[in-house]
């Protein structure tokens, strides 16, 4: 019933895998964890893998949009991958499909960020 945030990296890409449920309560963890990593100044891009995210509501949209603003302000890219249909539907509804890239898997997402893994 809670959220796990797993962080790793490939070159200058921060790769974050979320598993569990992303709501207002758990969004704080996601924001703090990603911002701590980004503040190190060593990452240019952010890939979010949502394959194990079983629930998300509009608080999730908010925190993801917030990270998108941050990364693009620094001139980087943000890519989402492996999004489950029920979660995808929320991105669709909110118009986010038009503003940021969605990939099928991590490989492609890293590739979009310029990393051949």
């Amino acid at each position: 019933m809670s959220l796990h945030v797993d962080v790793s990296h490939y070159h200058n890409v921060l790769l974050v895998r979320l598993s569990g449920e992303l709501d207002h309560h758990t969004a704080t963890d996601v924001r703090e964890r990603i911002d701590r990593e980004l503040s190190k100044g060593i990452y240019a891009h952010l890939v979010l893998n949502l394959s194990d995210l079983t629930f998300m509501d509009s608080s999730g949209l908010g925190v993801i949009l917030g990270r998108y603003r941050q990364v693009t302000q620094m001139g980087g890219k943000m890519v989402l991958c492996s999004v489950q249909p029920s979660v995808y539907r929320l991105f669709e509804l909110s118009g986010m499909l038009k503003i940021l890239p969605f990939c099928e898997d991590e490989q492609r997402a890293l590739h979009v960020c310029g990393v051949a893994s």
Partner: protein, 150 residues
């Protein structure tokens, strides 16, 4: 063979921990109608939206407010009322607009009411400033159990 009716009412404190509890409780109650996975996800999502709004906007994150959820089953229809006694909404029309949020600094997406409207068949918002907000959500489940009433 009469229609199956049931109800439950849930009160809890306005702590963000209770957001997941609230959606699990409503989903568990609804599961007696044998909803599809998609229907269950829709209902969990809208409960999460309405409860989160009560926590963040209604009670402005004070943990001592009380949130009430009343859920009724009538045949294949589910109605859910989420209520707070918080600050209320001054302009409901504006609040319902997609992307409108009064708390952009908190990274709110302003999509809560839009999601409720998309996922449910009826959404009614009753609010009065300084008194609180009531969100009434209704959904007809398509695939539901054939029931013997009581």
């Amino acid at each position: 063979m009469s229609v199956h009716n049931n109800f439950m009412e849930l009160k809890f404190s306005s702590q963000s921990e209770n957001e997941s509890f609230a959606r699990v409780a409503v989903a568990s109650f609804i599961s007696q109608l044998d909803p599809t996975v998609d229907e269950l996800t829709d209902i969990k999502t809208v409960v999460s939206e309405a409860v989160t709004n009560a926590v963040i906007h209604g009670y402005e994150e004070r943990p001592d407010g009380i949130i009430t959820i009343r859920t009724e089953i009538r045949g294949s229809q589910v109605s859910i009322v989420v209520e707070d006694e918080g600050i209320g909404i001054s302009n409901v029309e504006e609040a319902r607009q997609p992307l409108y949020t009064s708390k952009p600094q908190m990274e709110r997406s302003g999509m809560g009411f839009t999601i409720m409207e998309n996922f449910m068949d009826q959404v009614e918002i009753l609010s009065s400033e300084g008194k609180g907000t009531q969100v009434r959500l209704v959904k007809d489940l398509k695939t539901h159990r054939q029931t013997i009433g009581n």
